[in-house]
């Protein structure tokens, strides 16, 4: 009889021990490159962009905001590369004709994958960020890197003045 009681206790114990706490990721998140648009005339003032789209060099569209205004964008830089070229394209009305203005910005960076915990796994950050302009026809006046270390989703990392 003692045997059976003992056995029962152990099975219950084994049942309890096989319960695991829920592993939920709350502490960390992968970073995006946050780009905010500012006015070229008064650099402190945020200035939205209209009829704007974002393309890769080969023409594929990253984001298209044709009938909305955009104050800022979050860009994912590829982790298998250290350089990423993006075309900032804007449609403007000039003398009742639509004109496309393009600015190419090259972002240089070091991608980093950091293991954080069982629940979160790996998160993406970027270090040594720099930006340069290439082949400009015109609507951007300056690209400025505000933070060379891109480690979160909330900060502004790059400012574009136009």
């Amino acid at each position: 009889m003692k045997w059976n009681h003992f056995l029962l206790c152990l099975l219950v114990l084994a049942g309890i021990s096989s319960c695991e706490k829920d592993d939920i990721c709350v502490a960390s998140d992968s970073a995006y490159l946050n780009i905010t648009f500012y006015s070229a005339e008064s650099p402190e003032v945020a200035k939205s962009v209209t009829n704007f789209s974002l393309k890769e060099l080969n023409g594929s569209i990253i984001g298209s905001f044709e009938s909305t205004t955009v104050a800022s964008i979050a860009l994912m830089l590829p982790v298998d590369d250290t350089e990423y070229s993006v075309i900032f394209e804007q449609q403007v009305e000039e003398n009742e004709r639509t004109k496309t203005l393009r600015d190419t910005v090259v972002f240089s960076y070091t991608p980093k994958a950091t293991f954080t915990s069982r629940a979160c796994g790996f998160i993406r950050t970027y270090e040594d960020l720099s930006a340069s302009r290439e082949g400009s026809t015109g609507w951007v006046s300056e690209v400025r890197v505000l933070q060379s270390s891109v480690t979160n989703t909330s900060d502004e990392h790059v400012a574009i003045y136009h």
């Binding site: 099975l11 695991e20 992968s30 994912m76 994958a113 293991f115 069982r118 979160c120 796994g121 993406r124």
Partner: protein, 233 residues
């Protein structure tokens, strides 16, 4: 599948424990055994392969030196919903050495045995990270796939873990010199050599290592052969 596995495992264990028989009392001797639970799990659980040999030597009435030697490989993945976060595979060996003491007063002529014991264990293993993705809140919110980090992550060699284990085990006479039994184990991680940019999430012989807790739980059952060293009158 995991439900079925549990039922079979607990079922086998229950049968082992209930099928007690009354025989002549066991004297000192050497025992050598094979873990059956790991062989069963190897068949039933995808990604798991393991084997363990164990033995003990009675050096004093009611006390034994116990040893376990095993090898395990476990391939698994972490997921959020249906989206895979990362896959990894751990393989390696472990050695456990310690003592067992009888905690059940045997009736005259009884061969059943309940023992409590302690072990000091060493694991040596390799972790191989497979396909891995970046955790991304946006992907969680939209139930989308996580952006890819790598198709084949690094292999992390020369990992080690040390742990202390408390053991509660049962053995009952089967036939001839054969015994069948099982044990419950609670382990406490005392030290580890962690890899760079990853964690020891699963350790051979220890099982799953949870975040923020250093305890591991496991159980097993197996069959053993007992060689008496002298007749006990």
């Amino acid at each position: 599948m995991s439900m079925l596995r549990s039922i079979i495992n607990y079922g086998c264990l229950a049968v082992c424990l209930i099928s007690t028989s009354v025989q002549a009392q066991q004297g000192p001797g050497i025992r050598a055994g094979l873990d059956l639970s790991k062989l069963v799990r190897s068949e039933l659980q995808e990604g798991y392969r393991g084997a363990e040999l164990f033995g003990d030597l009675s050096f004093k009435k009611g006390s034994r030196i116990a040893i376990e030697l095993g090898n395990e490989r476990f391939r698994t993945k972490e997921e959020i919903g249906q989206s895979v976060l990362y896959q990894y595979s751990v393989s390696g060996s472990y050695l456990k050495v310690g003592l067992d003491w009888d905690i059940y007063a045997q009736k005259k002529g009884e061969k059943n045995q309940i023992t409590a014991g302690v072990r000091y264990a060493l694991s040596q293993f390799t972790t191989d990270i497979g396909q891995a993705f970046f955790y991304d809140t946006q992907a969680v919110q939209t139930n989308g796939n996580f952006p890819l980090y790598t198709d084949n992550g690094p292999t992390l060699n020369s990992l080690k873990a040390q742990y202390l284990e408390g053991v509660l085990s049962f053995k009952t006479h089967l036939v001839g010199n054969f015994y069948i039994g099982g044990s419950f184990r609670m382990a406490f991680l005392t030290g580890e050599q962690s890899p760079e940019n990853f964690d020891n999430l699963w350790v051979p012989g220890f099982n799953k290592v949870t975040d923020g807790a250093r305890f591991g739980f496991s159980y097993n059952y197996g069959i053993s052969y007992f060689i008496p060293l002298k007749k006990d009158k």
